[in-house]
């Protein structure tokens, strides 16, 4: 596929996003983006019951052609291939960039890898939740832990804390 065709594909997906909208009964809903430049997405992931393989994925978002088109393209591929969670975590950002066309997205790598980064974050969250459930934590306890962890890493003060740092 040449550069023009890759651009046309990205534009088509940005203008007519596939797998758009919330996913009913999603196992995880994870936001990603950069408010500074206005690219925002929320990804919904559903895993096969009791399994380790992605059953379905969808997204909502707004932003530039590359961020939105690449998210739609990636989800299109995932909804066809149904990779395992391990395969998702092992997915290469370089491969994603090559898939989109380095000559097309090379100057906007953060936009091009937004979807994959967000999906990986969702998978990590899902696996953490599983481990917490296996350890006997209730959904409410997991929710509170999640909230505390997010505040710890990204506090409202805007000062991310280093791992292991103690609160004064």
């Amino acid at each position: 596929m040449d550069r023009e065709a890759r651009i046309a594909l990205l534009v088509d997906h940005a203008q007519r996003p596939r797998h758009a909208g919330p996913l009913a009964d999603a196992d995880v809903r994870v936001p990603g983006g950069n408010p500074g430049c206005g690219d925002l997405i929320t990804v919904y992931l559903k895993v096969e019951p009791g399994g380790d393989r992605l059953a379905a994925a969808s997204f909502e978002g707004a932003g530039c052609t590359i961020s939105q088109g690449s998210t739609s393209l990636l989800l299109n591929r995932l909804n066809k291939d149904h990779p395992t969670l391990g395969e998702l975590l092992d997915s290469s950002y370089d491969e994603m960039i090559d898939f989109l066309g380095r000559d097309v997205v090379g100057s906007r790598l953060s936009c091009a890898t937004l979807a994959l980064g967000t999906i990986k974050a969702g998978v990590r969250r899902l696996l953490t939740d599983r481990r917490l459930r296996a350890a006997g934590k209730s959904e409410e306890e997991i929710r509170r832990l999640r909230s505390a962890l997010e505040e710890y890493a990204h506090p409202a003060s805007g000062v991310p804390r280093a791992a292991g740092a103690e609160d004064a």
């Binding site: 408010p35 206005g38 000062v159």
Partner: protein
Amino acid sequence: MTTPKAPPSVAPIADRGYAHPEVLVSTDWVADHLDDPAVRLVESDEDVLLYDIGHVPGAVKVDWVADLNDPVIRDYLDRVRFEQLLRSNGIGDDTTVVFYGDRNNWWATYAFWVFRLFGMGRLAVMDGGRARWEEEGRPLVSAVPSYIGGDVRVGERQDRAIRAFREDVLGHVAAQKPLVDVRSPEEYRGERLHMPDYPNEGALRGGHIPGAASVPWARAVNPETHTFRPASELEAIYQQEQGLGRDDDVIAYCRIGERSSHTWFVLTYLLGFAQVRNYDGSWTEWGNSVRAPIERP
């Protein structure tokens, strides 16, 4: 296919009271100069594929990442590369360069600012940017033009007059001179800098430079027309509300200097401030600098 709703009309640029109205041209003016060999239209966007999707006929693309930055260190291109950029886009000594783009022209004013670092005259911005051109139903084409490069030569980049560095800002803080933070109020207050799990493009610390006034850049634009507000409304924002004066030594900043180039443009050319600099290191430098003073409400 739906036709975009035409934007409201605006007063002529010459009637809006700007100090230097010659740096703005209307979409009508651009439409009348599409075939003018002395005019080169330059599109600069946040959404890097917009140009490929369709651009004003005859326009070339200048991308802030690929074309204006040094490829290795955090700085702008040097004179040799800048001359190559001009020649490759058919810009000569006598060419009038008209910038336009998405996001209310924020990268257009950024490109304007970088061109000015090299002392380029004959620069203008298309008022209303790409959004107004599109909403007026004007033509966009995908054909990429080719221009014959001239023998243009420019001087070495001169940063001092309109570009501020970290040391300049530290001096400004110490002297309690005016600083304008043009980011969103959330960024100014030091609230979340970026979304969880997303690569950090921001900084390790949140807040603002001590003493900086918060004036989000987009306040200078009428969101319905996409054009710059008239001088009287800009004066109300920057001079009456914030107490800035035309002779003040002002430094504007944002995250990487793109939004603050817009405010630099407004203060310098639309309001006629004599001494405004853009701190392009902005929060991605300041918020990561060890012991840089930070204020949070």
